[in-house]
């Protein structure tokens, strides 16, 4: 019984916080302001608690697994959630249903925790649903905006469709092997046509969640329509969780079909990087721009996944940690500006530096990191991903990937240029950033600058994963 509490500690803690929020909401005694501070403190405690009383083991006959890797992954997700609660303070503070928003978000996070800890296909499916459905409601949270409701609708329809195909894949896998346990699957699996079809259907669910081309189409509408906090959550926390389970599924469960999945990954990563880049080039709205550029980023993650080695999984986790900071910083700046001025176009960012040097510098750092310019952390993230991928891949593949890095440089720098160099007669006026958001932006900025230079981050991930 004791084991139950310790192994599922992260999930239980989230459950407690959700209950606290429910009671607060019923009580109606607190102002939004105070509630937000309370929530932020709870989430900070939640994040810090992730580092204590950790134990590895499994529960319910292998259905729920806790390893040092899942503990680390949950910590990264908790970090993302905490940063989101800080970064978008301005928006949360004004929203009348703020506690519900966090209840939904934490439910989704709980789904993600079960997802990374899942030990059989059943829990996997339940968890992925739990991680998705609340998010659709979060996307719908700009209540008075029609575009937001539409985005929520699109998300729930698309994900229902994706779940259908996933279930079909799962049923085929069960039909072919007769088991749903991850531990037993590799022993019974071989690359028969039936299994290939099951596998492809199975990974479309990952591809959908990670918005890999051609399963990405919902992304742009949903990202643009939803409130920025939800967009940030989708593009960072949700993608991170799915990438974590994706990599452990491929490396462990589908290892007998390594050749098939390796080629699938290569194909998908090429499509994703190239198309993601081409579309990102055309975007004018900053949210859409970040959405499409994050599609291309996922393409690079796939390059690392393709390595099928310890270095591959370390580099993916390392990259996601860096990506969390970089992308959240970019979204945080975009949110601060959009919240106070309503401006979301890259055009409007011209001359931003004049009145808002702090926001401009943070945005520039974030974009440099996303573009992979040394010495920001993003450079090291990309470098390790690609060098891990390069150990097994063909030269031409690496060359194409590297060329796409250059293309991405172009559109990231376009925004930097707009902020620092382009002239604007009516630049955005001084934007007041709330203290929690400012704090989180500084944390992100510092992290982007130093993570690449601190070797123990890599070592820490390495010890957790291997």
């Amino acid at each position: 019984m004791n084991e139950f509490f310790i192994l599922m500690k992260s999930e239980l803690l989230l459950g407690i916080i959700i209950f606290i929020l429910l009671f607060i909401k019923i009580g109606k005694g607190l102002s939004n302001e105070k509630m937000l501070v309370l929530i932020q403190s709870l989430l900070l405690v939640n994040f810090l608690a992730g580092f204590f009383f950790n134990q590895t083991g499994h529960l319910f006959g292998g259905m729920f697994v806790s390893t040092s890797a899942t503990i680390l992954q949950k910590n990264i997700l908790n970090l993302g959630v905490y940063l989101i609660s800080m970064l978008f303070s301005d928006w949360f503070r004004k929203h009348i249903h703020m506690p519900e928003y966090f209840i939904l978000m934490l439910s989704a996070v709980m789904g993600m925790f079960f997802l990374v800890s899942s030990g059989n296909l059943l829990l996997f499916f339940l968890a992925i649903e739990l991680a998705t459905i609340p998010v659709a409601a979060m996307v719908n949270f700009d209540m008075q905006k029609r575009i937001s409701s539409e985005a929520g609708m699109k998300m729930i329809l698309s994900s229902a469709f994706s779940s259908g195909i996933l279930l079909f894949g799962i049923s085929l896998i069960y039909g072919a092997t007769g088991t749903i346990q991850f531990a037993e699957l590799p022993l019974l699996m071989k690359a028969s046509p039936l299994m290939i079809m099951a596998f492809i259907f199975f990974i479309t669910a990952f591809a959908f969640k990670l918005s890999i081309v051609p399963f990405h189409l919902w992304t742009a509408d949903v990202y643009e329509g939803g409130p920025i906090a939800s967009t940030a959550f989708l593009s960072v926390v949700s993608k991170g969780a799915v990438a974590f389970i994706f990599i452990s599924m491929l490396y462990k469960v589908f290892q007998p079909m390594h050749e098939v999945w390796y080629h699938t990954i290569i194909l998908l990563s090429l499509c994703t990087i190239i198309l993601g880049n081409i579309f990102a080039l055309r975007q004018q709205n900053i949210k859409r721009f970040l959405a499409f550029s994050s599609i291309a980023q996922v393409g690079f993650i796939l390059v690392g996944i393709g390595a099928n080695s310890g270095a591959g999984s370390i580099s993916v986790v390392y990259f996601i940690l860096i990506y969390t900071f970089s992308n959240l910083a970019a979204f945080g700046v975009a949110a601060a500006i959009s919240e106070q001025t309503g401006k979301e176009n890259i055009q409007d960012y011209r001359g931003l530096y004049k009145e808002n040097p702090f926001l401009s510098w943070i945005m520039a750092l974030a974009l440099f990191s996303l573009a992979g310019i040394p010495p920001t952390a993003g450079f090291f993230g990309k470098l390790f991903l690609i060098s891990a991928g390069a150990t097994v891949a063909d030269y031409w593949y690496i060359v194409v990937v590297a060329l796409n890095l250059i293309v991405s440089l172009y559109y990231y720098l376009r925004v930097v240029r707009a902020m620092f160099m382009d002239k604007n007669e009516f630049p955005i006026q001084k934007v007041q950033v709330a203290f929690p958001a400012k704090f989180a932006l500084i944390v992100c900025g510092v992290a982007i600058t130093v993570i690449g230079l601190l070797s123990w981050v890599w070592d820490y991930i390495q010890t957790a994963l291997i």
Binding site: R146, P214, H263, A311, P375, K423
Partner: protein
Amino acid sequence: MMNQHILLPMHLLQALPAVSAFGWLPALIPLLPFAGFVLLGLFGRKYLQSISGWLGTMLLLAAAGIGYYTAYEYFFVLGKTNGVYQAIEIFKLTWLEFSPGFSIDMGIVLDPISVMMIVVVTTVSLLVHIYSLGYMKGEPRFATYYSFLGLFTFAMLGLVLSTNIFQMYIFWELVGISSFLLIGFYYDKPSAVAASKKAFIVTRFADLGFLIGILVLSFYAKSFDFATLIHQLTTPETATMQSAIAASFLGGSALTWGLVLVFVGGAGKSAMFPLHVWLPDAMEGPTPVSALIHAATMVVAGVFLVARLFPVFNVSPPAMDLVMFVGAFSAIFAAIIACTQTDIKRVLAYSTMSQIGFMMFALGCFGFTASMFHLFTHALFKALLFLAAGAVIHVVHSNEMKDMGGLRKKMPITHLTFLIACLAISGIWPFAGFFSKEGILLAAHEHNTLIYWVGIVTSALTAFYMFRLYFKIFWQKEWNGHTDDAHGEGGFSMMLPLLLLAAGAAAAGFIPFGKLVSADGKPLEEVFHWQFALLPLGVAVLGIAFAFLLYKKQNDRPAKMAAALNGFYVAAKRKFYIDELYSFITTKIIFNLVGKAAAWFDKNVVNGLVDATGSSTQFISEKVRGIQSGKVQQYAVYFLVGALFLAALFIYGWR
């Protein structure tokens, strides 16, 4: 045929005990400018505006002092063991460890070329700091300017002192960023912004080659460390060497490809053809910056890189040939263009490219010492040329030659120092350029006759265009410009660097360079043939005479010449249309063909396909479109088609 002794310097670069007789003192050389960057960057504009220039200059003076002391100790006291200069690692930190024995380090290494570069970089940077005290006076972002200079100097010193190729790459990028900041310093000037962007993108593109090259080389050598890497890749018996030579791709061994890619990075920074397009535009930056970055330090980083990996280049004849031909072609190509330009800074920019071409092909011809010597002397006289040109621009307020002429009386010191620099770059005895160019031509003569003749022709062209510049600025007509400007030649702070550099450009040739810097660390006996020197000297005098005839007094001979060479002249004046070619490729071909094709494909094929498959849902889709766009069904179709296509591909196609 390779010189055998060149293959042996490995023991020289072998890691030595980390504690050295130098202590930690040399670490201060890059750290002092960095401290300047941090101080001035954080507090400069608010608190230190008035003293920022002096603060930066003093820090650099200290760095230069330590640099000279280190150079003295290295070359004359501590550097040699058994008559051979050793590579000494001052310190080394393990920074990222991938697996035991394979890690990225950070450290400082002293060897003949890095010590030489310390001297070059700190000297030129110090003089530019001093010069800018006068030149940039009154600039509102004075402190920012000095903090950028500090950042650049730090990055450049870090680059030359790197113990391993990865550390070098990081500083390499940092150099690129700081030069981006400095070129675009006048950020309210659109042309400066465009130029800084162009420089950044072109060199980034080249740096990508460098990075892939690093990965290829270190993949085979299993190390980033220069000493280990060179040792692994030059010892034919080792397994790594065998596999690096055996692995082939498009007809070249992996080793050759790695070196070629590294060279691409070097060519980008050093503005070698066809990656030179950013250099002339980079002249939009402040002139002292051009002197520092685009004459003496950053642009020679590519040469330094090839020199650093020289033993590895030696074992791959194709890579050596590439270095040689690219260098030689760039040298003559740039010299021809330089003859036709009218903006004085652009003439100097092309001249720089041409001289770097000399250094490159010297390396390709195994003339290691000659190349490094030319790097050294060139840094002095080209920095001098830029600073003198800056003084001229300061007075005339224009970069165009037509606005100048007859300035020799108005600016006597500038005139004299400029003349010395012109004589030095033309290779006239006894000025510095004569000796270093002599060495290069000798190396070329021993190695490849074609390259030798290219070198001779380029020497003649060099003398011609430099004296064309000289006569057009200082002679030709009487100065009749605005005489109201009281500042005359510029103050003491601007004249002192000119005089010091002129002394260097006049006398540096007599440094016994071969005794100090050679490929294997052993002193080289310098042989000097007078009869060999006569031809280069002769063509240089010829070039000067020709310029004298055409440009000493105003006449119609140059116009006639230009008319006679009609098409060729126009082509050269338009820089052989390389810029147009690039913009054609990028805007017309890439944007139009790829971009438009992608858009067309998106609109017609993909949409058409979806419409065709989804004709039954069309009706409902139309209904929903009333609400908004109603594309969810299409998304599902894409999704399904994608999944089915993948499944079909792997079930039927791939197996």
